[in-house]
């Protein structure tokens, strides 16, 4: 637990001091969401219809942006070797890094999401469920992204391959989250979709540390 908190605190502090991680993700989020009304046209009905999907897709892509930095920097300067040699289990290290990614990227996205949803003409009824789906779903994005980041750590041009590996795993998160928001806008129950989304997050919280630890040990050889 101590090791987990140390790595978590270290990564969050580093991101905070280097600055720009959260701001970059939010800026990208805003830009991508802005592209859609410009591309699709400003009719409110169409925008309202696609608002949930657009906000979530943009959040997905924004979360993807900072993923390759998760392990790359530590691999290059040798701190990952030190962490591997320490008594902290590698699975805890991976979990801590995913948590740090969520705190530095996921949380800012959650804060920015309602504003952007309103820009996309989302009906007010959808906003609470949008927030709930983002709270439940963005940890899954960080966890599944952590698997991809661990697998591609140390590969040349790993960033592009990372997107290819991680996006198929992201698709269920996207589907359930958008289904939840659309259900609440339409007056139907959002609970089943939110529960499935929570299930995806819980399963990935088990799989990601195990797979990530195996991949990191591989990258360190």
């Amino acid at each position: 637990m101590n090791g987990f908190l140390t790595v978590l605190g270290h990564d969050v502090g580093l991101a905070y001091r280097q600055g720009g991680a959260a701001l970059l993700a939010v800026a990208f989020f805003v830009v991508v969401v802005t592209l859609f009304p410009l591309g699709v046209g400003p009719e409110s009905e169409i925008l309202a219809r696609i608002s949930a999907g657009v906000v979530w897709t943009a959040a997905l892509l924004a979360a993807l942006l900072s993923l390759d930095r998760m392990f790359q920097a530590d691999l290059e300067d040798g701190s990952l070797d030190l962490l591997a040699m320490s008594p902290v289990p590698m699975a805890a290290v991976v979990l801590a890094k995913c948590a740090a990614h969520w705190i530095t990227t996921g949380l800012p996205l959650i804060v920015a999401a309602p504003v952007l949803a309103i820009l996309m003409q989302m009906p007010i009824e959808g906003l609470p469920v949008l927030l709930a789906s983002m709270l439940l779903g963005t940890p899954a994005l960080s966890l599944l992204g952590g698997i991809g980041a661990a697998l591609t750590a140390g590969i040349r041009r790993g960033g592009v391959l990372l997107s290819l590996l991680v996006l198929p795993l992201y698709i269920p998160v996207l589907i359930f989250a958008v289904a939840a928001v659309d259900a609440s806008i339409g007056g139907l129950a959002a609970r089943p979709h939110l529960l499935l989304l929570a299930a995806v997050t819980l399963v990935s919280s088990v799989i990601a540390p195990i797979a990530g630890a195996a991949a990191i040990r591989l990258a360190l050889e």
């Binding site: 698997i147 697998l151 591609t152 590969i155 040349r156 041009r157 790993g158 391959l161 290819l164 590996l165 996006l167 198929p168 795993l169 698709i171 269920p172 589907i175 399963v203 799989i207 797979a211 195996a214 991949a215 591989l218 990258a219 050889e221």
Partner: protein, 246 residues
């Protein structure tokens, strides 16, 4: 278990492959020809769909193969990861393109079937979307193999990816039961037994056996070439080492 460890020796495996290959090719040829003739010519027409139902005899076995091959890939990856079984790693690597090809065949034939039947080339329902995800998983798997310089590292990374993606298989299988989809629900592999008539079931089974035998033949060919490529790489490295040690 003993058998598995016996065939970790590439030379012994190559001998087995050389024996299996002509037989599996023969079975594939006979079964596919029989299945196609039976299915495309002699099987009865559907009362609603007419002759277009005959696409089923290619589409359904291809879909079965896409899932089956991913399963084989996952098992081979697990064996390679747990026991450092070199031949198992290469078996997984060799089956991926075959699986991807069958997935593409399934999606394309399904699309060709959907146009006259459903009036659309594609629909974003659970079954089709999860098959598309399977295709992306195959492509990502093949890309990960290419991304590493060291083949042993590539094998283990790809094995981890294959195992993580295995969660998609039950989702595909049960997607038509769990969601209200346009795609037809399970008719052959259900708990109550097959729901389709024997006159349609038999050609389907022939095609399934033929496709499986085809997969085995192509797998043997690919594995022989993978093992040969690995040997060439070893020879090149030894030559380079001897060269610099001059």
């Amino acid at each position: 278990m003993n058998v598995m460890h016996r065939f970790a020796n590439p030379t012994r495996f190559l001998r087995l492959a050389r024996v299996i290959q002509p037989w599996s090719m023969a079975v594939a040829l006979v079964a596919i020809v029989a299945g196609l003739v039976w299915g495309l010519v002699y099987a009865p027409v559907d009362y609603q769909q007419g002759d277009t139902v005959r696409i089923m005899f290619v589409h359904v076995p291809a879909a079965w193969m896409a899932l089956f091959i991913y399963g084989i890939m996952a098992v081979a990856s697990a064996v390679g990861l747990i026991w450092r079984h070199a031949v198992a790693d290469l078996a997984a690597k060799a089956s991926a393109p075959i699986g991807a090809a069958f997935t593409v065949i399934c999606l394309v034939t399904g699309s060709l079937w959907g146009q006259p039947m459903w009036g659309t080339w594609w629909v974003w329902d659970a079954r089709l979307t999860s098959m598309l995800i399977l295709l992306f998983l195959y492509i990502g798997y093949m890309a990960l193999w290419q991304a590493f310089d060291d083949p042993q590292k590539a094998a283990r990374a790809a094995a981890i990816l294959a195992l993580v993606g295995t969660i998609n298989l039950p989702i595909i299988k049960f997607s038509v039961d769990w969601w209200n989809t346009l795609h037809q629900p399970a008719s052959v592999l259900t708990l109550a037994g097959p729901k389709i008539h024997a006159s349609l079931l038999w050609p389907l089974l022939f095609m399934a056996i033929g496709f499986k035998a085809y997969f085995i033949s192509v797998l043997m060919i690919r594995m022989r070439s993978e093992l040969a490529a690995r040997r060439i790489r070893g020879l090149r490295l030894a030559y380079a080492a001897a060269d610099t040690g001059r």
